[in-house]
């Protein structure tokens, strides 16, 4: 089974249309991967759907990079 990190990266590749190599842990959705604020909202929704969780808005605002997403999800998703 794919790890959380792998799944997160795949969602980002699909939704933002970027190369997998660009999706590094430090990469910022908006500064490095060409996302705008609407893309970021869509990514959060995709994470919620994929992992069957609900991410509160105040938490979502702190998820700006690939690494932050992986860390948050690893802490929230039942393994």
């Amino acid at each position: 089974m794919a790890s959380i990190e792998e799944k997160v990266k795949q969602i980002i590749v699909d939704k933002l249309g970027v190369d997998e190599a660009e999706v590094t842990s430090e990469a910022s959705f908006q500064n490095d991967l060409g996302a705008d604020s609407l893309d970021t909202v869509e990514l959060i929704m995709e994470f919620e759907k994929e992992f069957d969780i609900s991410i509160p808005d105040e938490q979502a605002e702190n998820i700006q990079t690939v690494g932050q997403a992986v860390t948050y999800l690893e802490g929230s998703v039942d393994k």
Binding site: K15, G17, L38, D39, E42, M45, K49
Partner: protein
């Protein structure tokens, strides 16, 4: 007043995914009807449409961009790129060929309905979910009907007027009129105009089905769109886009552009009669044609070809022919009439746009596109009218008129003329 000329055209239809393919389809009398692939139509009365197939949007557009867009917007942008290349604004490799003054160029591009598919999907997702509202942040920008114009203005950095017109199946005609006025009145040098529509969806087919507007000839779908035939039973839904690049004659000549045709005149009118039925005597449509000729300074005898609205509905086809006879008098017997919807289906808000392209192609290539699928004469239709049944005719076309009418009683008529300096 400035003269308005066409320098680029783009077409995406069920009978051709580019202008050369569309021309070939019009000349050969191709039917675009095929089984619906975009959803399972098993339970629907109509199970076919004129869908655009074998089409690769990435030929012109960036994959990243496509995923943010509704199908109708993708279609608008695709046809716009073809038109901008033909106009010599873009090169064939997609680079800029001519630097427009952005403040003097705009985009008025219509859609009759907008991003219905995107709205439907979001409602279905919500209904199938837990009840917690989770709408995609791109739902609204995908759905709204002005986004063809919006995205085209962004793609080509056009900072003049940009918006959509909405008048149901006449939307594309009103867009062209508004864009041409911007040039005529000197407000812009160049405008991208036309329309796009993509509502081969459950709601689109189901909605028109319950109005009894669509043909249900599932067992012989290729011949279902049969305007003026005694056995016509409704229109066939089409999808696609038509785009025209229009500009002032001075602007086109100064940059050495090839002029395809002149936008000679146009007019709008209303039936003021019923939400969906046409005025039985064609009263509103007659006014649109008469005023378009008046503004163009063209007499009925000078018109060679009328591309009708002719959707293949029992009421609409005869009402339009009555209006044409009133507007043209005895001269009506000397011109050709045809409905290209017999081939493309009805593209709703994009109909006027692709039919304008058909008129321009008729002028350029000296032919009359046919009304295909004619089997049985309708006793209520004057047999002396030349409805160009079944086969294209070779004929010099100097002046062509395109009619489009929309639910709500909105009429628009546009006249294209061979360019002479």
């Amino acid at each position: 007043m400035k003269r308005v000329v066409v320098t680029g055209i783009g077409a995406l239809t069920a009978i051709g995914n580019s202008v050369p393919e569309y021309l070939e389809g019009l000349q050969s009398g191709k039917s675009g009807a095929k089984p619906i692939t975009q959803f399972d139509p098993e339970l629907f009365k109509t199970q076919f449409a004129c869908e655009v197939t074998d089409w690769d949007p990435t030929h012109y557009l960036d994959k990243r961009e496509i995923r943010r867009l509704d199908r109708y917007v993708i279609m608008a942008m695709y046809a716009a790129e073809e038109a901008m290349r033909m106009a010599g604004i873009k090169n064939e490799d997609g680079t800029t060929a001519f630097e427009l003054n952005p403040d003097r160029a705009g985009a008025i591009v219509a859609s009759g309905i907008g991003g219905l598919r995107s709205l439907e999907k979001e409602i279905e997702d919500f209904e199938g979910g837990s009840g917690t509202p989770r709408y995609n942040p791109f739902m609204i920008p995908r759905m709204i009907a002005n986004m063809g114009a919006g995205h085209i203005s962004m793609a080509y950095n056009l900072r003049g007027p940009s918006y959509a017109t909405v008048s149901a199946c006449a939307s594309g005609g009103h867009a062209l009129a508004a864009a041409a006025d911007d040039i005529r009145l000197g407000r812009a040098d160049l405008m991208v105009t036309g329309g796009a529509e993509a509502v081969v969806t459950k709601v689109g087919i189901g909605g028109f089905n319950s109005m009894k507007a669509l043909s249900t000839r599932n067992d012989d779908m290729k011949t279902a769109s049969r305007p003026y035939d005694a056995d016509r039973d409704g229109f066939v839904l089409g999808e696609g886009a038509g785009i025209l690049v229009i500009e002032s004659l001075e602007h086109a000549q100064a940059r050495g552009a090839t002029i395809l045709a002149e936008v000679a005149g146009y007019a709008a009118s209303s039936d003021a009669y019923h939400i969906s039925a046409p005025h039985p005597e064609g009263a509103g449509a007659k006014i649109a044609m008469e005023n378009a000729m008046k503004y163009a300074g063209i007499s009925p005898a000078e018109v060679d070809y009328i591309n009708t609205h002719g959707t293949s509905t029992p009421l609409g086809d005869t009402a339009e022919l009555k209006a044409i006879k009133l507007a043209f008098g005895e001269d009506v017997y000397n011109l050709n009439i045809s409905s290209t919807k017999s081939m493309t289906g009805h593209l709703l808000g994009a109909a006027a746009a692709i039919e304008s392209v058909a008129c321009i192609l008729a002028i350029q290539n000296s032919f009359i596109p046919p009304t295909i699928n004619h089997f049985t004469d309708d006793p209520n239709i004057d047999p002396r009218l030349n409805l160009t049944f079944n086969k294209a005719e070779n004929k010099t076309v100097d002046v062509a008129l395109s009619n489009t009418f929309g639910f709500g009683g909105h009429n628009s008529a546009t006249i294209f003329r061979r360019f002479k300096s």
